[in-house]
Symmetry: C2
Subunit: 328 residues, 2 copies
């Protein structure tokens, strides 16, 4: 499948990303390392991710008639906000690797990683401000919502979580920046309030489909493809979508066993197998797939209300399809 | 002495600070706690600091003819940036108390403290944006310079530091936000480039006087007044102004002993006494006081070039005098 949305702007975004991080301070090469532009010694590297969020900004902006020039700073700002959050998430989760490379804290220590994330947040907003104060304000609101979602997620580690709380959490932690991608595209095109409302609905639906698919992969994803051990989210006792549903649906003995397993200090392979088996009995994987599809249908409906070109509509549908069916 | 600059705007700043932190998320009360508006359980508290930076913004703005209404968001934004940096500094330094209260990480854990600082940075810039994009841009540049200074300071822990490197570090870590206070006041008054250049010189001089005085207090300050153990900066082997000067000036046996002491895992009371005695022999305390005064003279010269009222000039001179002679 041709993912035009992800390929069309890649060179421009990568160049602007590099320019936004330039500077003399010792911290700058750490930022370039984190986004995949450099290796640990500052030599050029080719490890930039798929640039989903900034690509969406530019795509929406172009569909709504804005120039790429005006949209590019907002797009880069959004990608930097996403990356600042990853630097700090990796500290919080104790993750030593990300996409096969040492995380910033693992390579430079926690203190410098805190600084690196802080600096990246400031550079992100400074960049977005070049697309205008409305774009900067949108990005800041999304950043606040994302951080509040991250805080909710940390709180989930020590208690049972209801489905609506889980959805509120992902609407912040993952959803806010996806929604922001669509809204920033609208903002730089001076979209009216009605259009922004549709873009918000579209972003929310795509964000939920994206995160729930991610959560399904965290349990049923092929270890070799996803790059994490099989069922890693169960081993980490992460309160992801399947786990939240399992706690909602399990009754009697199942519920007691589930609570007992999630209360243990460490899980055996048998524990993990039992949880996966329970989830299968409760129909969680198939229902999860249906839920992802429902959100994509919502997204498609919102898309119908937007004045995109026929080609643009097809490009975005291809991307949504890819996000929902991806295996990593 | 009447410190009009610090008293005149206190109520307005405090109210605007409280309003800027309002919100439903669980993180919000942590932010209100940190700035001293609430206690650990979210009940109102009266522990807001002296609000030096936002008071300077409003003072300069008013002297240059801007309305307080236009200046207030920038002032609050600057205070929030200062406070976000303190939340993260306390994690990095492992400090469990600040001004007699538990630090955020000590009360809520490191992960939530990272989130709290991140959120406060975003809210800060969002607030400043209400004073216009120029103010937001100034604040973001100052934030980046501050973080780069903090990163330099962390790097100093493990090596010898020359005086010019030390000055570059404090120009970032402390100076950037003091300079920003003056420049934000200028920005909301639409000051021209020449006036902004004078405000920058003034801010830089005040910032250096302020930080060097702080460093002198970190060694010779009265423990009861400063609220830290006597000579605490020596015990922590902090590369502060007196220490940097001591390494620059000590020769022969003195230098060898100094290096040996700063290389130890822990310092005895005798070690601390020896270092203080060395600093006295090298004339560092008295030279430090002279240096503070020199920076204040520079500040006074810059002040002469600004179109401040006679009363305004006197108010700022009083404040600078207080900052240079304070004992905590």
């Amino acid at each position: 499948m041709d993912l035009a949305v992800l390929t069309r702007y890649r060179v421009q975004i990568t160049d602007a990303l590099a320019a936004s991080l330039e500077g003399e301070a010792a911290l700058r090469p750490i930022l370039a390392y984190h986004v995949g532009l450099a290796d640990e010694r500052g030599r050029p590297a080719n490890a930039v991710g798929k640039l989903l969020r900034p690509s969406l900004v530019l795509f929406v902006a172009q569909q709504l008639g804005a120039s790429l020039e005006r949209a590019l700073p907002a797009a880069v700002g959004l990608e930097l906000i996403h990356n600042f959050s990853l630097i700090h998430d990796d500290i919080q989760d104790g993750d030593r690797t990300r996409r096969g490379r040492p995380t910033v804290w693992a390579a430079w220590g926690v203190n410098e990683a805190i600084n690196a994330g802080d600096l990246m947040q400031a550079l992100a907003v400074h960049e977005a401000l070049q697309s205008g104060p409305v774009a900067a304000s949108l990005l800041l609101n999304a950043t606040a919502a994302m951080i509040e979602g991250q805080s909710m997620d940390l709180g989930f580690e020590t208690r049972t979580v209801a489905l609506d709380q889980y959805l509120r959490m992902i609407d912040g932690k993952t959803g806010a920046l996806i929604v922001a991608a669509f809204q920033l595209g609208g903002a730089v095109a001076d979209a009216d309030d009605a259009t922004q409302a549709v873009l918000r609905r579209l972003g929310r639906a795509v964000g939920r489909a994206f995160q729930i698919q991610d959560d399904l992969l965290g349990i049923w994803g092929d270890a070799l493809v996803v790059g994490k051990p099989n069922a890693s989210d169960i081993r980490r006792r992460k309160k992801s979508y399947p786990t939240v549903l399992a706690f909602e649906r399990a009754n009697g003995d199942d519920r007691a066993t589930l609570q007992q397993i999630y209360g243990q200090a460490a899980l055996t392979d048998d524990d993990v197998d039992w949880v996966i088996n329970l989830m299968t009995r409760l129909g969680i994987q198939s229902d999860g797939r249906i839920t992802v599809q429902e959100h994509l249908d919502d997204a498609a409906q919102a898309l119908d209300e937007l004045p995109f070109s026929t080609d643009g509509r097809r490009d975005l549908e291809n991307l949504m399809d890819y996000l929902a069916r991806r295996d990593k």
